[in-house]
């Protein structure tokens, strides 16, 4: 199976086909959806999309890392990371298709 990469262009095209707005407006709305999700996450909220999955922000503490090339110890500063937890519906769908 040839692996394709879906981008904003394909999402906008799907919205265009499905909803019947102009191509430009479809692209703007895809952007708006990603933008609202990013804003919520930046505020520290989690984003839960039923039957797709949830995105949440986790705070990581400081730890000592090592430069793998030089072996030198470097502090890794405390930071926030985004975690995606796929829903069971999505996981099942991905596995069902792979078995066919």
């Amino acid at each position: 199976m040839v692996e394709k990469t879906v981008t904003r262009a394909e999402l906008s095209e799907a919205v265009y086909q499905e909803v019947g707005l102009s191509r430009n407006e479809s692209a703007d709305l895809v952007e708006a959806v990603l933008g609202e999700m990013s804003d919520a996450l930046t505020r520290g909220e989690s984003v839960k999309i039923s039957s797709f999955g949830s995105f949440s922000v986790r705070q990581k503490g400081e730890r000592i890392g090592r430069n793998p090339k030089t072996g030198e110890e470097v502090p890794i500063l405390p930071r926030k990371v985004l975690v995606f937890r796929p829903s069971h519906v999505l996981k099942n769908r991905i596995n069902a298709n792979l078995k066919d």
């Binding site: 199976m1 692996e3 394709k4 990469t5 879906v6 981008t7 904003r8 394909e10 999402l11 799907a14 919205v15 499905e18 909803v19 707005l21 479809s26 709305l29 895809v30 708006a32 959806v33 990603l34 609202e36 999700m37 990013s38 919520a40 996450l41 930046t42 909220e45 989690s46 984003v47 839960k48 999309i49 039923s50 039957s51 797709f52 999955g53 995105f55 922000v57 930071r79 926030k80 990371v81 985004l82 995606f84 796929p86 999505l90 996981k91 769908r93 991905i94 596995n95 069902a96 298709n97 792979l98």
Partner: protein, 93 residues
């Protein structure tokens, strides 16, 4: 934020659209991402992040309670890697 709150926010910012259409827009976006992943494709949304499917081979697992060996079938799991721009925003950069 839930799916319905996301829809409500977008609808509020776009008063010229029917609520029903905003629902279809949001549903279409996640449906498109899900079906791409289900066919084994990647979804790359620059600045936001990329979804991909990782395959895990079959392995022999253990029941942690009894220690008995159990075979775990090969499976595929969806994976998300945060985009650079969003990662920087989360950290206030």
């Amino acid at each position: 934020m839930t799916r319905s709150e996301l829809i409500a926010t977008i609808a509020q910012r776009n008063p010229h659209l029917y609520h029903r259409d905003v629902e279809r827009i949001v549903t279409t976006i996640f449906e498109e991402i899900s079906s791409a992943l289900a066919s084994g494709d990647r979804v790359e949304l620059r600045g936001f992040g990329a979804f991909s499917v990782k395959r895990r081979g079959a392995r022999v697992g253990r029941n942690p309670r009894t220690g008995a060996s159990v075979s775990v079938e090969a499976k595929a799991v969806p994976f998300f890697k945060t985009g650079k721009q969003l990662r920087e925003r989360l950290n206030g950069e």
